[in-house]
């Protein structure tokens, strides 16, 4: 198991280098640069800026310099948040997005799994139809619409919750809800399908034939085996949630990394684009690894050399 983990972690290096290369190339292929705005910088100023930040060097040299700095842990500075270290920007933003995403994940799983399970166990009853209905609605509403609806109802009309910012529990309620509805619907659908499949299995019929109580059958056999596909799905869902949603962070004015990432692209803020993309790649690899490790505990048939 340990070798397996080590093996996967070693793969991180080539993955990150590949991501860095592709991002760097794309970033510089796109027209526009970090100093563009609706008025021209005096030419001497643009020269001074490019020289100072090494942007006047040929691109391959810039890339090698970047990798060299990266190896020492230096992610460079931002241009749009002038001279602020990229690592500080990522750390501040990721902390917020991670907290928001993690809570949303808990809500999504905490809601989606039982609902899906219930629907599977009560297939073709009112409960099943209700849950499938909720899933369909939840999966079709874009998070922007849900977010706006929540804002209008709870802030504008009822004056119950604050519209914006991050820090207090009350400020977290609407963003968490808006963020978790889609994943909850998705997770619930996968859970339902998976549980239905497990319920058909021979070992469930055997267990029933043996006279085990239904609750024991469900908790000990059905759920654990049915969770494997769900776990596969939770991995990428978790990675997406935790790296921040631009739409939610924009709508609710949350200082997270999702917003930073998207605005940095529009601003051609090279250091931040590279830093956040590499960070995202790292998170995705990590989460997939965690899911693979979890498999071992959930399904005894799975073993790693």
């Amino acid at each position: 198991m340990l070798t397996f983990i080590l093996h996967r972690l070693l793969w991180l290096l080539p993955v990150l280098i590949a991501v860095a290369t592709i991002t760097f190339a794309l970033m510089h292929l796109v027209p526009g640069g970090p100093w563009d705005s609706n008025r021209r910088l005096p030419p001497a100023a643009e020269e001074n800026l490019n020289r100072r930040y090494g942007l006047d060097k040929p691109l391959p040299e810039q890339f090698i310099d970047y990798l060299a700095d990266l190896a020492q842990g230096d992610l460079g500075v931002s241009y749009r948040s002038l001279n602020r270290p990229v690592s500080a920007i990522i750390w501040d933003g990721a902390r917020v997005s991670f907290t928001l995403g993690f809570i949303a994940l808990l809500v999504a799983v905490g809601f989606g799994v039982p609902v899906g399970l219930l629907a599977a166990l009560r297939q073709n009853t009112v409960i099943d139809y209700a849950s499938v209905g909720f899933v369909s609605i939840g999966a079709s509403l874009p998070s922007f619409v849900t977010g706006m609806l929540l804002l209008v109802v709870f802030s504008a009309e009822l004056h119950l919750l604050p519209t914006a910012g991050w820090g207090s529990f009350r400020q977290a309620i609407m963003p968490v809800l808006a963020l978790s509805i889609l994943p909850a619907a998705y997770i619930s659908r996968v859970t339902r399908a998976s549980m239905l499949e497990v319920l058909q299995q021979d070992y469930v019929r055997t267990a029933r034939a043996k006279g085990l109580r239904e609750q024991v059958i469900v908790m000990r056999h059905v759920v654990r085996n049915g969770m494997i596909p769900v776990l596969t799905v939770i991995g990428p869902v978790a990675a997406a949630l935790v790296t921040g949603s631009f739409i939610i962070e924009y709508l609710f004015s949350i200082p997270g990394i999702g917003r930073t990432f998207v605005t940095s692209i529009g601003a051609r803020d090279y250091g931040v684009i590279m830093g956040t993309t590499l960070f995202y790649a790292f998170v995705v690899v990590l989460f997939n690894l965690m899911v693979d490790i979890l498999y071992v505990f959930v399904d005894p048939r799975i073993r790693y050399q």
Partner: protein
Amino acid sequence: MTLKLRGSWLWLLVVAVAVAAAALTACSDSDDDGNGGTTDGGDGLAADQTLRIRLIGEPTTLDPQLAAFTPDIGVVKQLWRGLFYYGDVDLSIVPAAALEIPTVENGGISEDGLTYTIKLRDDLTWSDGQALTAEDFEYSLKRLFDPAAGGGGYYYSYYTDIIGGQEAVDGGSLDEVSVSAVDATTLEIKLSQPRATLLTLLALWPAYPVREDVVSTGESWTEAGTLVGNGPYVLSEWAHDDHITLTANENYWGDDQPTLETIDYRIQPNEGAALIAYDNGELDMTPIPLTDAARFADSPEQIQYAQLATLGMQFNVTRAPFDNVDVRRAFTAAIDRDTFVNDVRGGVGQATTSWLPPGILGYDADRGKDYAFDADQAKQFLEDAGFPGGEGLPDITLMVGDSQSEALSSQFVQEQVKRNLGVDIEIETLEGATFEDRFLSSDFQVTLGGWSADYADAENWLPSLWGTEASNNISLYSNTQFDDLMEQAAAELAPEKRADLYRQGEAILIDEDVAFGPIYHNVKNWLAKPWVDGIAFTEADSETPGDWFFTRVSIKEH
């Protein structure tokens, strides 16, 4: 057969209880930190003198020599005071850190207008109590031309009449910049040619003083805790991307002492959500989104006032068909500006045929009247151009960025040109930075552009934007007569003569050459709670109404 599925039901129950508990806590206090309360702060003032403002985005920097975007400038103006400042909403210049306005009579300006000897007050202090002297101003003004500081910014180019300035930006020695502290309270500035607007320029943010030992601490000197200014407010907290908190400076030496104890800038990029926050009592001031203009048209909380800004059709005068002056005339006369302001801008704006906005000396109310909306006249111009009915015109593309207002405006222009000229034009919508890239390299036929004043003088509107080879001449316009007038005006000190020279220049630019097709002047449209007292807005506000005079604002009890 009923099945007891305690496990998952229990789970659901737990989640439901958690949500209910959250809702109940939410119900317990309905209003977010509402302002004040009913306790009397004396004179009808609220006990909590906090002003909460929506800020459109995170400031790029709070370094005065580099501040360029409106959030940057808006905050910088509270943290520092330069040698001079605006005295009132008429934007007259009064001394701030300086003791008096230098004139030829009091010896502050030499006879030839090339040497300024500015006396400072002797009670100047930084916010941490240390004395502020002329040496600090010398350091800061030199820093404006330092390639590693202001020499990488937009605004040093306004100050290059200071001898040695441009050379320093190009890599020369900062010691050669002719700004020197004669003694602790006297600053001497030497110019290469007389400049009528120097005092105004010294009232703007690029000329604000910073302290050398503070700046030397490193790139993050602008963070709360290290930033030291000399203005009425102090930066007490900067939570990046979230909020900025300013508190009153106890060591402020100025005559305009603040009443507000705290200014709370909340960074909220989405203006719709900001409006809901305003409704909800979380903000005291916020802009009115374009789509909501009608809703607040009669509201007593609305603040609406003219800005020194012009928008319209920006032609590339070197590219067909806009290299033909009659085509430019035709397009300019084809736009129904009043309908534009009413339908596209929700009535918020001032239709115009002039480049200079009213309020700038040199503004002429009759400017461009030959190109006021007249469909028949427009068709006639097109015929004069050699394209009767639009026949023979090359393909025309109107290039714009991807904002909502640009989408609406460009569709309006397209429709007007179709209806009033019978010409079909394409709209090319580009992503923000891609648009700017094309725009700055003048790679377009026509776009929607304009200008917003940095300060209230025609000098900011004409030479650097329309002079041949001027740095900001995006339209590639060139007219030697215009250039001559600009040169004369630059060296002229008498206000009336200057205004007249600029007026003549604008006459060539607009009446003769139609280098630009003006459509409207911008109008700021904001909301402010009734308990916010003393907002003194000007035509040159940066982001928030009245942000040159926040020291006059107070919160009434409510």
